[in-house]
């Protein structure tokens, strides 16, 4: 187990380094830096001034060296201009040129400053991540049980009417990306002119104009059922279909196994067979699938946070990318890639751990 784990972690670190380097290159391309110079310096800078701005602010030099500085394995740039003022990567705020550390990259915990939010990147990202964590938590709480129940119910008796109805539902949800289901849910539940809200308002069942809120902006301060149900449902719906189908496939396979037949022939009641014999084996595969759903959830989060204007991690990523906020975008990418890689690792290790055939051999 240990060598396997070490090898996996090794590959993961190599992947993380390669990916962060790729992201670093793509965000620090010359046109991006020129745009940054014009927004940070002055819009009417001449081309020469732009180049010298880039050079003077530590964005010159080779890509590898800059990546090293950002990572914190190469010493940060220091530059003294003709007025005798020394500036550098590690010299900011109260830190003077003399007391500045030599290295200041993400390994030292310095993620740079966001140009959009005008605050340290680490502060922005951690704040927004905690908002998104709530969203993810609720999505998981809805998605996992619902999809497992649907999958088990439809896989239990393959080809039955329940199976057909639930499978159709699962296929329909996998065909509905978040930006489609979000739009449809808002129109049905959160529009003052269409859907069920006008009818309910007419009957006097709801006090406001709409049943649910069409935006989740207020959920940043206080999460309520009415402002959070739609975003959570939008993300969960897409995942439900996929996980349910995987669970169904795994369940139908388990149901054809010899030990299930033996249990049935011994006269064990059907629900006992399902709960005691089938479920434990049928749920190994969905575990992997749920873990591998995380990268896709990240997508869903970006779409839903944009659609419902919930200022979390996904919204921040869009802001960073749209406003050429290089440091923030880099940080967002690192977090995203990290989440993906860690979930892959958990899924691999979890699969080995959960499957007795591999664990005991």
């Amino acid at each position: 187990m240990l060598p396997f784990l070490l090898r996996r972690v090794g590959v993961m670190i190599l992947t993380a380094l390669t990916l962060s380097f790729v992201v670093f290159c793509l965000t620090n391309l010359a046109p991006n830096l020129e745009k940054l110079a014009r927004t940070e310096g002055s819009v009417r800078m001449s081309d020469d001034a732009v180049l010298s701005w880039i050079e003077n602010n530590g964005h010159g030099g080779s890509m590898v060296m800059r990546y090293g500085q950002w990572l914190g394995v190469a010493p940060g740039w220091v530059r003294t201009d003709d007025k005798g003022v020394t500036r550098g990567r590690c010299i900011q705020g109260a830190v003077t040129a003399e007391s500045a550390p030599r290295f200041c990259g993400i390994l030292q915990g310095d993620w740079g400053t966001s140009t959009v939010f005008r605050e340290p990147v680490i502060k922005t990202v951690s704040e927004k991540l905690s908002s998104t964590a709530w969203l993810m938590l609720w999505v998981m709480l809805v998605m996992v049980p619902v999809s497992l129940i649907i999958g088990v119910l439809s896989g239990m008796r393959e080809g039955s009417r329940t199976d057909r109805v639930l499978s159709t539902f699962a296929i329909a949800t996998t065909a509905t990306p978040e930006y489609v289901s979000g739009v449809i849910l808002v129109v049905i539940f959160a529009s003052a002119t269409t859907g069920i809200s006008p009818i309910l308002a007419e009957w006097g069942w709801i006090s406001g104009r709409t049943l649910f809120l069409g935006t989740a902006t207020s959920a940043i301060d206080k999460i309520t059922f009415w402002n959070f149900a739609l975003p959570v449902m939008t993300i969960a719906l897409y995942g439900i279909g996929y996980i349910a189908r995987m669970t169904r496939a795994s369940m139908t396979e388990v149901m054809t196994q010899q030990y299930i037949r033996t249990a049935r022939l011994k006269g064990v009641a059907f629900h006992q067979v399902i709960l005691k014999h089938a479920l434990r084996n049928a749920l190994i595969a969905p575990f992997t699938v749920i873990m591998l759903q995380f990268p896709w959830l990240l997508n869903g989060v970006v779409i839903v946070e944009t659609l419902f204007n919930y200022k979390g991690f996904g919204w921040t990523l869009v802001q960073a990318a749209g406003n050429n906020d290089i440091q923030l975008l880099l940080a967002c990418s690192v977090v995203a890639v990290f989440v993906v890689l860690v979930t892959q690792l958990i899924s691999d290790v979890g699969y080995v751990f959960l499957n007795p055939r591999i664990r005991l051999s």
Binding site: L19, I171, T176, V187, L329
Partner: protein, 383 residues
């Protein structure tokens, strides 16, 4: 004139779609007539799920083909007074209607959705085909030879797969990146694979008869490299093959995202199939590795690949919609479904129709493709 009622709107739309109905009926009647001779395609008509999916998909395919005959207005024409018009609003002084209303720039939603189908259905299948060729060309040797080649290629594939798709799009589909030429480099690499694939395919087949081999491979190379020069570098002297830089950027990114998954699927299947007896028999006969891979293993892997192809077109449609939704790589005039949804969502709670119509269109197309894949899977597993 009076605004139309909902039944009248649907009736008018049904009339507008007449070329689609005609083509659908012809296709289905012919297919049912000859289904016993049509292999897997014919068997599709034995399952209800398959038929439903097929009909939905073909509906959109024919809509894309006959889009010019179906639309009632120019999809980018803005007519005054019809901003956010409700479905069925008549045009003043004419006998025409905005069947599904107008959007925030007073354009006809119905015509835009129909034209959007054409855009989606030209990019999505083409991108999927290229992604498959890349995945197959790399996945076959990786699975067949294994070893260092496999380790290296798998590592690269996993790298791409570890990127959240949306982040990759934000990094790859921007005006800045276009000016650095990264999309052209990507296109140069990715578009080379179809040429390699077809050449190797023909070469391995006709290796024993050099005269025919030279002819076929020569023709394939000439056409392939001609298209390649036009599509990747926009340097086709005749100008037949060319691609708008915006479109190239979107196209290349979508291929880039899809190819690693195809690679993994192909590699997995090949690793499974290479231990079969017919492969061993081929090796004993002294057949070359590429002949075995392309002409013995690949045809036997077609079932799962065809199913995945259908699913992947749907997934690519979703990805294109995502790009449009974030306004990446599309012009504001573009009628593609993703950006229409994005335009419509700003006034969603007051005027839902400009967003809901393309949303339903996209959903039905992907649903059709998923059902089709399901039907194909069911039928291909039966034999």
């Amino acid at each position: 004139m009076e605004p139309l009622s909902w039944p009248m709107i649907f009736a008018k739309m049904a009339v507008q779609f007449w070329p689609v109905w005609a083509a659908l009926i012809v296709t289905i009647v012919l297919s049912l007539q000859f289904r016993r001779r049509l292999g897997l395609y014919g068997k599709l008509f034995d399952s209800n799920v398959g038929i439903t999916g097929f009909v939905i998909v073909m509906f959109w395919v024919f809509t894309a083909i006959f889009a010019d005959m179906i639309i009632t207005f120019n999809p980018i024409a803005q007519l005054s007074g019809l901003k956010n018009a409700l479905p069925g609003t008549p045009l003043p002084d004419t006998d025409q209607w905005y069947l599904l209303g107008g959007d925030h720039l007073a354009r006809d939603v119905f015509s835009r959705v129909v034209m959007g189908a054409r855009r989606v259905l030209t990019i999505a299948p083409a991108a999927t085909v290229i992604a498959f060729m890349v995945g197959i060309t790399l996945g076959l040797p990786a699975g067949y030879f294994g070893g260092k080649l496999d380790t290296g290629l798998s590592f690269i594939a996993n790298l791409v797969l570890a990127f959240p798709v949306i982040l990759l799009f934000y990094l790859l589909v921007t005006p800045e990146i276009r000016s650095t030429g990264v999309p052209i480099v990507l296109a140069a690499v990715l578009f080379l694979f179809p040429v390699i694939f077809v050449s190797v395919l023909l070469n391995s087949r006709y290796f024993t008869t050099p005269a025919r081999r030279n002819l076929y491979v020569g023709v394939a190379l000439v056409i392939g490299l001609w298209a390649y020069s036009g599509l990747a570098f926009n340097m086709d002297p005749t100008g037949i093959w060319s691609m708008d830089p915006n479109l190239l950027n979107v196209f290349v990114s979508v291929v880039f995202v899809n190819a690693p998954t195809v690679f993994r699927i192909v590699r997995g299947i090949v690793m499974d199939l290479k231990s079969r007896d017919y492969v061993a028999a081929g090796q004993t006969r002294g057949e070359g590795p590429w002949y075995i891979m392309l002409w013995e293993i690949l045809p036997n892997a077609r079932g799962p690949l065809i199913v995945d192809f259908c699913l992947r077109i749907g997934y690519t449609t979703i990805l294109l919609g995502t790009l449009g939704f974030f306004g990446l790589g599309v012009s504001p005039e573009s009628p593609d479904w993703g950006s229409t949804i994005d335009d419509g969502r700003r006034l969603l709670s007051i005027y839902p129709h400009p967003a809901v119509v393309p949303a339903l269109a996209l959903m039905s197309l992907v649903l059709g493709l998923n059902l089709l894949a399901d039907g194909l899977r069911e039928e291909s597993m039966r034999d």
